[in-house]
Point group: C2
Chain length 199, copies 2
């Protein structure tokens, strides 16, 4: 690419590092941005700058927002004694979109992984035990992903909290709503069968 | 979404307007950006700001760069008398990636469209005739998309340039390299058959 396009190529290279955009779609996106300079490119640059300055993790649960303590942790209504442990902020937001959980969250910030050298200290696991003690938690719901690392982490946490007199539960496994058996993997069908209930 | 996440929600909404990103992938992208604040979010905001300030269209061909006249138009080597007419800057870049065309370009900035009220004056069509006259052009290659609007525009341009003594060609239509007949539409197979050549 010619030297008079270095700046633009640089932007394309940065955009291509976003999840969901490859080099080709990054190029399309940048051309679109340049076309819509006033409506899109400038507001986006400003918004990114503001988010870079203001975004922070909630000191209590790890949710991402612009306050030191997020609105979920501050809400009186959500002090139900139920604490939902999730891997990532995206999972917390997914739970919130579903709108069925009325307690508070604890974001681990990842899962234990021997391969990636992620131990309990790299995650918010020690902080979880502290919160259970301090916040009159009665039930810890392990809403970790149904992956090997996710389940390993769930077992580790369950071990850690065993003697604290708190109820520990995990999300049910089974057929997803709207799911067709023919398209499900064997593991899910097995889990759904084992956890079958009276109709 | 809570009021302490307004800023972040705003950024997600802007990102979701990029081609290739929906609301879900925009959310994932923004969380990734916040995680990689120093390596990705801040550089991206800065780069967007710089591109917003410096990006411009080449006054001659319409290519996007940071100079008044782009490096392709300025290159002595590319004064071959061949002018390739494309719809959009993305098409120019695609031709350049292919690396087979050694002449210069003319970006129309769209195609004629009665539905969208795009006439010749909205595109860089009058400028094309001027360039053919001024730049000793011997061949105009119409590299417009093989869509109805693209081909209408190609015919319109051919009519306009008819009396100027310039050779007018268009890209060949046929089976794409690596293409399988079974997956091709009837129009392409018909075009390839009509344009068949001695083996």
């Amino acid at each position: 690419m010619a030297e008079d396009q270095e700046e633009i190529e640089g932007l394309i290279a940065l955009m291509a590092r976003l999840p969901g955009l490859g080099p080709r779609s990054a190029r399309r996106a940048v051309l679109q941005l340049i076309k819509k300079r006033g409506q899109l490119l400038v507001p986006l640059a400003d918004s990114m700058r503001r988010v870079a300055e203001t975004a922070r993790e909630c000191l209590r649960c790890g949710n991402v927002g612009t306050a030191d303590i997020c609105s979920i942790c501050l809400s009186e209504k959500r002090g139900t004694g139920e604490l939902c442990v999730v891997e990532d902020v995206a999972d917390l937001w997914a739970m919130e979109r579903a709108g069925v959980f009325k307690g508070r969250y604890h974001v681990l910030g990842g899962v234990l992984s021997a391969l990636d050298a992620v131990g309990p200290e790299e995650l918010r696991i020690p902080r979880l035990a502290e919160r259970v003690r301090e916040e009159a938690i009665t039930e810890v719901i392990l809403a970790l992903n149904a992956t090997v690392d996710g389940q390993t982490t769930a077992h580790y946490i369950a071990d850690q909290l065993e003697d604290m007199g708190v109820k520990i539960t995990s999300l049910a496994q089974g057929v997803p709503v709207g799911g067709e058996l023919d398209y499900l993997d064997d593991g899910t069908i097995g889990a759904a069968l084992r956890a079958r209930k009276t109709f």
